[in-house]
Symmetry: C7
Subunit: 83 residues, 7 copies
Amino acid sequence: MPKTVANTKPMDVLKNALSRNVLIDVKGNREYSGILEGYDVYMNVVLQNASEIINGENKGVFDRILVRGDNVIFVSPSKGDNE
Amino acid sequence: MPKTVANTKPMDVLKNALSRNVLIDVKGNREYSGILEGYDVYMNVVLQNASEIINGENKGVFDRILVRGDNVIFVSPSKGDNE
Amino acid sequence: MPKTVANTKPMDVLKNALSRNVLIDVKGNREYSGILEGYDVYMNVVLQNASEIINGENKGVFDRILVRGDNVIFVSPSKGDNE
Amino acid sequence: MPKTVANTKPMDVLKNALSRNVLIDVKGNREYSGILEGYDVYMNVVLQNASEIINGENKGVFDRILVRGDNVIFVSPSKGDNE
Amino acid sequence: MPKTVANTKPMDVLKNALSRNVLIDVKGNREYSGILEGYDVYMNVVLQNASEIINGENKGVFDRILVRGDNVIFVSPSKGDNE
Amino acid sequence: MPKTVANTKPMDVLKNALSRNVLIDVKGNREYSGILEGYDVYMNVVLQNASEIINGENKGVFDRILVRGDNVIFVSPSKGDNE
Amino acid sequence: MPKTVANTKPMDVLKNALSRNVLIDVKGNREYSGILEGYDVYMNVVLQNASEIINGENKGVFDRILVRGDNVIFVSPSKGDNE
């Protein structure tokens, strides 16, 4: 079996998700879902129209939010919106 | 579909928010809202007329405050004030 | 006894697990199991069809998920799927 | 609207506060207020005549104290003493 | 008294333990014991036939497991197996 | 008003405290007081005749102790012993 | 008064303690006491015949143990064994 299986670079997941809906899971039982407007190599992310959910409860919407990368647990492109 | 979707650099969110109202969410159930006077690459931020909210309770106002970047969870330009 | 015992590089465990099932154990009593699609030197990992288990409870499936490396406790190729 | 809004460097807040009263908020519900005698790029700070407040309770005064930067949450020049 | 007492390099403890049984103590009341298959300078370790013990309770065996180094508290070659 | 107010380098506080009594406040409600014998740029400190106080209770004296810098909250030269 | 007071380098405390008894205090209410066999610049330490004490309770002895440096709170050469 050949060893050259493709390796998707993690940062490409963010690149491909630009201008699409993503879910950002953040330390402290927080989630932010919105349109990914930008990111950098530290995994700092910028979302538009971001809903904030803390402990499962909807806390409101931010027009624009910059989440610091070292709080991120995971990023997932939303179902049906992932190419 | 072209892959060259725009990527807003997270630091540009801070740059564009200079001299405008921002909300800084900080570890330990703290929030600081005020006018963004400055920032650096470590996400250290300087606010003017910053209201401090701890556990949802208003704790007062600081003329000027320097928040150390590694405590920051997110920064959001205030609604209606984001260009 | 010779001292030149083989040393499997930890990153090669990830390389060999590409396109196979892995279990990712994450801080905060979380587990993600799915097909390893990619990784990088920070141990950021990309999974496809990832089941999320929090405190032993199945929370659903993500089509694609990027888990930030510094949350990872361990990665294990699934039994029977490890070459 | 021009984009060249002034950006106050966070370290300049410390520079301008030298020999003035500051409040240092520190992890673990601690506060130190005193005269800022020095600082460095790691946000290590030196205070003179520093009052220590833990969980809102005054614990005494230190002639001189060096607070390690990575414990700092924020630094604020005292009201009326800023500029 | 001469000052040139031998200094065993910590990484050599891992090197000498390759292909032998080791106990890995991990943050969060976890232990993993198995055959050390590999390691790197970050103290990431690869174990074969690794038993997982959480809070003193045996949780099962992994054919192969990669434990991220920054979770490690200590590594100890098993008694009688240390050369 | 001139801007060239003196800035005491934090490390100079340690330098000036050499061979004098200091109080080291450490994470986890610990304090160590003793004679400062040495330090380095990581704020690792060496004390002689160090009393250990945990949760306000005296736990004994160490002839010599090396405290790892990243546990340090603050260092204060003892009153009356500060030049 | 001259300023050239001797500064014992913290790493020299470890160097001088080689092949002698030391007490290693570790995060999570753990202590390891044994003969210091080695160390490196990250404060990773190797002990021989190391007794493990957790929450004040003796948990047994390890022939050899490598403690990862970032868990260390302090290292102290045992009384009467310090040169």
